[in-house]
């Protein structure tokens, strides 16, 4: 097996130089997500302004897959409407569930297609989803608050 399919350059880059990895002072909501099987954790701040995600910032501790995935997620969803963000999230979920059969839609997922290789390793899918699930939780909570 070629490990480079899993550890693509873009993943290692984001791991070493993560984006938006500093919790913002202002936020609509803060969530903390933890993978109990390994202890990886992410704290995520989400702010919405006039129907757009105006800021996602995060802090975390974990493996290259979980940290890079959270970093890429934060860059992808920044500035998007919650509906567009949901489409991207759904597309990423679908990729993770593909067991290695899908390549991912580059138009929607951009750099996040680099995680296609992760879907072949069942034990690592949770790593890749950690930050995304934190965003999903945060967005649902913001939505519930605004109702």
């Amino acid at each position: 097996m070629n490990l480079d399919n899993l550890y693509q350059e873009v993943i290692l880059d984001h791991y070493k130089h993560p984006e938006n990895k500093k919790l913002s002072v202002e936020k609509d909501i803060q969530v903390h997500h933890l993978n109990p099987s390994c202890g990886d954790e992410v704290t995520l701040n989400l702010t919405l302004e006039s129907g757009r995600i105006s800021n996602i910032s995060w802090e975390g501790n974990g493996c290259s897959i979980s940290m890079a995935s959270t970093s890429i997620m934060s860059t992808l969803l920044m500035g998007k409407s919650p509906d567009d963000a949901k489409k991207i999230l759904d597309s990423f979920m679908e990729l993770m569930q593909s067991k290695g059969s899908a390549k991912g839609d580059e138009l929607i997922l951009e750099d996040a297609v680099a995680f296609a290789g992760v879907s072949k390793y069942p034990a690592r899918i949770k790593c890749a989803l950690l930050g995304w699930m934190a965003y999903k939780d945060a967005s649902l909570q913001v939505e519930a608050k605004s109702k």
């Binding site: 097996m1 490990l3 550890y7 202890g39 493996c63 390793y121």
Partner: protein, 417 residues
Amino acid sequence: MSLDVGLIRKDFPILGRTVRDGKRLIYLDNGATSQKPQQVLDAEMNFYLMHNAAAHRGAHQLAEEATEAFENARATVARFLGAADEEIVITKSATESLNLLAYSIGNAPSNNRFHIAPGDRIVVTEMEHHANLIPWQELAKRTGAELVWLSIDSEGRLDLSKLDTVINGKTRVVSLTHQSNVLGTINPLDKIAARAHQVGSVVILDACQSAPHMRINVKELGIDFLTFSGHKALGPTGVGVLWGKSDLLEELPPFLFGGSMIDTVTMLDSTWAPAPRKFEAGVPNMAQAVGLQAGLKYLEKVGMEKIHAHELNLTQQFIQGLSKIEGIEIFGPTTMESRGGVVSFAVPDIHPHDLGQFLDNQGIAVRTGHHCAWPLNKALGVQSTTRASFYLYNEAHEIDSLLDGIQQAQEYFGRSR
């Protein structure tokens, strides 16, 4: 005389398989579960092929044979631990054994020596596996007792400087691991057991990481109860052992209720069979017990002293190799004194998951994570570690491969800056 590892390996079919596209399997996750020799698989299958019936019930021939097979297995476990047959309770797992003790103690009425009252104390250590921590947390909550623990020092050994204040006159239970599943530390039992008994507490030993790897004689350890799991000792999953001193087992109330564990039953009340039967409700795990028996016989035949010495050789080789790699941090004792064949470590700038994945790609199975000892990880100041754990079938060249793999991982993950 050292072990003939080549000969031993022939008995373990799984060690001949390859993983991840043709890589030879190097199995170094024995702290989690051991592989099984053909003798264990045959024994378990033979029970089902020839003797299967419900033990302790019925008068037909198969029922007699099943009963005999199960009781023979108990006798082998007893011999393995230097105990009497009636002191051995066959459980489904070590986790069940510890829960059995916690629930049984919690069931003890006020006139029973095990009774726990609000303000009493339960003592554990900071290095416990969750299975020897959470049952006591819950018992403390149910009874109003206080849960207190012995801390670890910088070398990963128990700090006994506060022993007399931690184990005080209120202490009813002291439950600790014999060997840490993360650090490899073997705990000094003499002082702890002496202090516990001085204040009238029972001492419970989690021997999951020790009993499969070294000679144990319960009479020499000065403890009251001991548990270990079958699947870490070459046996099948689904079987655990609980040893208790016979007078204590007699006084301890039962935990699971149902068939087999009774003496008499009416619509409103029941009385219990003598120990160990009162702790073995339901049709027992006969095939698994028979499999465990074959596993323990295998270990005895090889020799527990030899196995322990072999594992320490591998451990020393690994720790010496690790100490030559820059920046590696080892959690736990680095000398061979009072330690077993479990080594946890950290490689700078590589998360254990990524290291584990890289090694897996080379066919090397190690454990990564918090090893079900979350509070210990917090005490060590780490989120997770990588752990290699050895057994009788591991070879020196496998340790070399692991050391090479760690260095290659450093190159691999250092590749982009």
